[in-house]
Subunit: 332 residues, 2 copies
Amino acid sequence: MSDRILAAHGSGGKLMNDLIEKVIRKILGDSVQLDDAAILDTAGGKIAFTTDTFTVTPIFFPGGDIGKLAVNGTVNDLAVLGATPRFISCGMVIEEGLDMEVLARILRSMRAAADYAEVSIVTGDTKVVPRGNADGIFINTSGIGILSEGATRQPITPGDSIIINGSIGDHGIAVMAERNNLSFSRGLHSDCAPLNRLIAAVTRDFAGSIRFMRDPTRGGVASVLNEIVKEGNFGARLTEERLPIREEVHGVCELLGLDPLYVANEGKVLLIAAKEVSEEIVACMREITEGAAAQIIGTITDDFPGRAYLETSIGGSRILPHLTEEQLPRIC
Amino acid sequence: MSDRILAAHGSGGKLMNDLIEKVIRKILGDSVQLDDAAILDTAGGKIAFTTDTFTVTPIFFPGGDIGKLAVNGTVNDLAVLGATPRFISCGMVIEEGLDMEVLARILRSMRAAADYAEVSIVTGDTKVVPRGNADGIFINTSGIGILSEGATRQPITPGDSIIINGSIGDHGIAVMAERNNLSFSRGLHSDCAPLNRLIAAVTRDFAGSIRFMRDPTRGGVASVLNEIVKEGNFGARLTEERLPIREEVHGVCELLGLDPLYVANEGKVLLIAAKEVSEEIVACMREITEGAAAQIIGTITDDFPGRAYLETSIGGSRILPHLTEEQLPRIC
């Protein structure tokens, strides 16, 4: 463990996991749950609770802005746990000198996102720090969702299908292109969107067949798969030719030497489900805006236990390692 | 309204209220509750929900640090609403290069504060930003408390007593002295402490007689009193000679031209209660560590409706205005 905080400690990769496991949870205790949201027993039932601070730069990017991202990010962390998102908080750290109209634009965007996702922003906090201390604005959104008693989840087993609701890598690449003024990047848009409607539809019809759901944000699809396989006696194989990756995203990734499988998404859910119903799940997803391009992209395997890997178009296999370094800083 | 964010927009004074009323709530909507925490109806009952981001500098100060402050601040926002604090989140924005041992010290402090206040830290988020973007560390703590059905609160009426659980202005002055290396300031300590035990004891015995509770943090005692009187047809009179203010706090305030009534506290509750039981409430508070120096400091009056004012030791009256400018930046 390094004796200083490195950029990679914030990446969603291995160093970040080490920080969480070896420093944060070791000190704060096991009450800190490892998912992006915690499930809590209250006198009246179960709720889900999550927190996320957004430091994205630039604040505005094609397809979204820090406000929309903050609301949807928190909605999604609750939704993937099977909770119905209800209440959101808004804690802002604003840099002195920020244009009031910029703040208003961000707040309008938060309101629109909250209305669309059918959640209420119910409490907030505002801090102002001197110039040079918050790079415009940081926004923390914490959220509460209501859990109904659902079917008990069956464990992931070889043969299960890996499903995603649409194209991969859009958010990270859209932010990166905007930040670097890549003029050829027209057509790139963040996928920033709330997943609660999509997930509610899928879980209503297929609750007993869904093994796992997670939004592949920081660290992307490959990092989520690494999380899944590290605990189990199975591997996760993606099929390259089935991966929905936009031409523009491919282009920017090749130019910058990035792998879209490690790039952040902000409107995607990675779902592991029983093979028997996987086609039906995809059909169900495609009926909803946020799932229009849903696709089965891989399978859980007996091969390569503990590994995520890619079956390439030319017939080879490429391991998708648990990355240590961050590819893209400050994309959320 | 200024067209840029000013330091005073983060102060807890009038400009901050304007920002909240005229920009934030106007855009985010009335679902944003005005107290420091929101009360929410869930299927299973009522919960309280709060958020606070801490940007205090320096990170360590006599009597506490940013971690202890973050836990206690959130515990207190829930406790003053009459909720039992239960669950806390921890969202950190860490500046690249922060010493890992500094982070560990802060986390240990959070854990100790959570254990003492009997709350669990259940979920978290970690972002790392480049040097110069977060001034060491910012910590957001959001919190959930459970509300039991209590007695309906009676409105504040002239004759009610104003009670505080101990000395005024300790936190802000301790941080300020530390920041400015005021070597004569030995003996100054932040009052940073959780109020839930104290409030639970008082509300258990006197629920029907308590009109109002609030922790006078940013903007201090005078700002809370201004909040109270602005809605009602009554005034709030403090009696100078009854104010518990430490000699050291007086000294630093005189030197720096500050009024301790506007300085932040982090372990204090301002309580308005029926006069008949106010001595009993003070006696009850004094039995608990956090209320050992409890005191009746004033009364709700028919005079000066809409105003908070001070009855001075020499027999005069001094209005305590709703401040526009911040006295002390970044003390929480």
